[in-house]
Symmetry: D2
Subunit: 330 residues, 4 copies
């Protein structure tokens, strides 16, 4: 299913080189003031072409509201937003069709969908689908007054000096991975449940839905595996629940504890490296050398922060509605 969320529910549709991509938000409270312009800053951040290391493909990415708005406010009914695909160069992809690109979904998509998949530009697998996530996230953020969600790239190619890491990739003419960290402040205590609906479970579910994400950790994360209990435990300091340290990253027993929520993602290097590769040719059944054409990001992690913020906002809005901390009619 291409749907996520219980009360603030989003569904995405579209293909990279098809008619359009889009999103439907079902469950957005009525009475939220909303214009296309509200979404533009985040959409702009997501877009390639303005930043060193991101793809030069330029879509206008202007959100077209098809439903759910009246007199500039949400009506309580589904908000469907379209992004038309204008700037596609499918011929780049057709040429490579005989070689399923390593690291891409080409081979699995073909196995799973029997050849009916739209392979152009990655089809439904394309990062272009994240346009809808970012739009939905921008709407969710408008509901989260007083909650700040900020993600940033904290390492590229193993370098915490991200400029340096990116420069290495440019010089190597290769794509490169990175780390994204997200910090949420102002989150109330009490969001999430033990077990299946833990805050980590819901967040990780959506974070792993972002293409190229290979790892997710909360608070101290993997480093916690090397620690003793007395080091890791966060002593509670006062009745507000504030802790002295924050190894838990703001979530305990699956539930937010009112401290800063902190998590990190590992983003792999884009599979579409300009480097020559050797891999299977479907037509011949033999491996051969080739290189990927088309417009691609050198470091897809650079585009991730706004998407990470978006899905975080979506998850939080859903939990806030569930906990009745956001009203159904504003």
């Amino acid at each position: 299913m291409n749907k996520f969320g219980r009360l603030f529910s989003i569904s995405i549709f579209g293909e990279s080189h098809g008619e359009s991509v889009g999103v439907t938000i079902d469950g957005c409270p009525a009475g939220l003031s909303l214009t296309p312009e509200d979404l533009l800053p985040d959409l702009e951040r997501r877009k390639g072409g303005t930043q060193k290391g991101t793809t030069p493909r330029q879509e206008s990415d202007y959100p077209i509201f098809k439903s759910g708005l009246f007199n500039g406010k949400t009506t309580g009914f589904p908000v469907t937003i379209l992004f038309e695909n204008n700037n596609t160069r499918s011929e780049d992809y057709n040429k490579q069709r005989s070689i399923p690109r390593p690291g891409h979904a080409d081979w699995v998509a073909h196995q799973k969908f029997g050849g009916y998949e739209d392979y152009r530009g990655g089809g439904h697998f394309s990062a272009r689908l994240t346009t809808g996530l970012v739009a939905a996230g921008a709407i969710a953020r408008k509901l989260l007054e007083g909650i700040s969600i900020r993600a940033a790239v904290t390492a590229i190619g193993g370098e915490t000096d991200t400029e340096k890491g990116l420069q290495k990739a440019i010089e190597a003419k290769d794509s490169v991975g990175g780390i994204v960290e997200c910090r949420v402040n102002g989150l109330p205590a009490g969001l999430g449940e033990p077990y299946f609906d833990s805050l980590e479970s819901a967040l990780a579910h959506l974070l792993f839905a972002i293409p190229a994400v290979r790892g997710v950790e909360f608070g101290t994360g993997f480093a916690a595996a090397a620690m003793f209990g007395i080091e890791h435990n966060d002593a509670i300091e006062d009745m507000s629940g504030k802790t002295r340290t924050n190894h838990a990253g703001g979530v305990v027993g699956g539930i937010s504890n009112g401290n800063e929520l902190v998590f990190r993602l590992a983003v792999k290097p884009t599979s579409s490296t300009p480097k020559e590769q050797n891999s299977l040719n479907w037509d011949t059944g033999k491996t051969e050398n080739f290189s990927v054409k088309g417009r691609h990001d050198l470091c897809v992690a650079l585009r991730a922060p706004v998407i990470v913020e978006a899905v975080t906002a979506i998850v939080i809005a859903d939990f806030m509605l569930l906990e009745q901390k956001i009203k159904r009619v504003l």
Copy 2:
């Protein structure tokens, strides 16, 4: 909600020191031969008390089938399994009630449930609830003929020699974290979807539902963030989809690619360390020194492998039903 899964759906209930804990499996195909004995090996692995570094609390953990079986076979209707709680020592917990234990859910549960939560032994937050997960996982495994799911502790306290890591904790009289790695062989290609129902999303959702899990990574995981594309890409070798390397860990574009599925989890040190701690006393509003009583694991990671295998089997069974690779009547 305490439910997970679309077609092979499980729901858990119960509290550590209440009447019982249990699980309902809804959607298990009809005609699966099933006895309590089928579940005992995995339940035995989950149980504390037989392994150095795990809690001495001993429950018989004998699964009582309350529905869904007839003549030793599943009927296609919900299978409800109970585990009675016999061996509880709630008084241990009552004594500590005035100090919400650092790292535990005591404080957040109280915030969220207004004091109505069953705090004894962690209530619904307790790892005792994983009994139901393990039972459901053992049933799922019976459906997955030809698929091998194996998890193991690969590091304790930062030591890949796990005996050494555990020994450090015993000497330090402190709890300690660890790494669990899971490998799945025989998985068909084609399980999972791009975006929200990616195989990683579904697995991470359930893996983060396991208490004490703080990080999840697939394939090369966090190390991928420091790699170049040409290093990370797995060249496809032949028409079966076999790849030369397996940095992807068997999942590409959210979909299994037929290679070995590999992922790792970070398990934090148990919060219930025997060490003296300093934290808030609810009654006085001031911090004070205390130490946790009760029976606890020094290294909860040691109990995790069977639970990790169980939730992995549950997720795979669900996807196999969705892909019609398991029949609804066997």
Copy 3:
């Protein structure tokens, strides 16, 4: 799936002649005072054997709470309730096994579940499963302060003098159908949505889940099909939304309008008539005469009102939580 509801979610399990039947309520707010005794009056009404025209099978039907309660109050976690099956006489059913009983699920169950179904006493199809519905309904009702839900049999065998209708059936030594009408007062306006989550859709979904229900109508119902618009329209009288007439039965555009909610159900005659019937014998492949043994209701409609009230309460509680008219912690 054997689950219903989004926020006040119930799932049922069990078989008529198996170990037990039961229900899990997931999403009941924390802090609701609850004892087995709270459920007994409704369970007593559901039970056969005390009323003319209902089956003499007597189960104690005492609800055993297995989870979700602490100090006599709900904890916010799943409440699982068991009813043990003590008083089963499976041999009655085994004798008839070769003839799938007309009107019963015997034949379809066998087709669908390949012979793995528990056929004894109707298995999972049995009306005994409504015990769980009634228990869940009794809990839901406790959440619905100020809302009165009353159902009654308004006709038996076509007679609005129900005593007379029942007497006809007793004399004919045959089972007989009936009409049940339900009226809900005190319902706030605003429950339900247009289209898929209309109040009628949700109610009809659960009402048609009750065995033997063959029709559901709201307000004027089928009679509306013969009316003109000017007759059927309910003029609004004042700002509270009160209407002069109530042909709509309290629901307009899928949403409650604050007037009395009124709906009716058609309940077919119990298939288990004591009369001789002619139908297929599976073993011989030919039809033959036979009569149904076992303990059965002459008029199952007589047992329906408490079940109808229960499912109505469940649906309303779910909508009230969704509309934030019931708090998650009381």
Copy 4:
């Protein structure tokens, strides 16, 4: 939520006088050949203006595919279809804004959505939203080879001679109700489950989602309430499950039995009668006489058959996927 279905899942969006209405089908198998023309016959039947007694509003209702198609075949990803709204006359509605129309959702929508609802032409409540249902239904039908679904108006204004019933309404210058009957042939046995996912539950859920539907009955329906068991029981004639009579209407124990599926709906008279009515004026707080302007159907039942067929096809496709009787890749 504006979503229905588990595996063949549809969601609708849009408002009568907004930008557009539309539907997303998520879960349609890959490889189904599909063109806009495939949908036109059913869309044409749904449209007003060509039939005596239906509204003269004419929209082109040409389906615009925005996603999910490639080379004329479904890809296995969401199919989003838009219908632009071109032919709206919102001023008709603005004039009547001060009087919530009896029988319409005006008053409840205002109560529920706090005045943020798009009231023009009924907004999201409008029957125009059924365009998406009909489109989804036409796609579902393409999956149901060998299954015939036919609905027809069998009575208008109480007359089984429907021409006569309609003539009465035309003469009375009033709207009028009707009965729609649906018959499904070729349905395999085994669709549906006891209790919550009964075939009747799922069908009634969607049938009551159709505007103006006030009653639903299966087989003998309400008439069964007046029958004896021996009359109502359908004797099984042979090993194929064929029954001598079909009072059950093809569904027993919530499961299709392979006989003809038969059900009927009561459709109320359109609330928008041209007759003068007396009802509340919101601005003055007093009742007054008025008459509804705008273009409306005299007998909305006439438009219902194609919608009934559509939702029936949707429900059946969902069950067929669940039962693995339709493949995920064709």
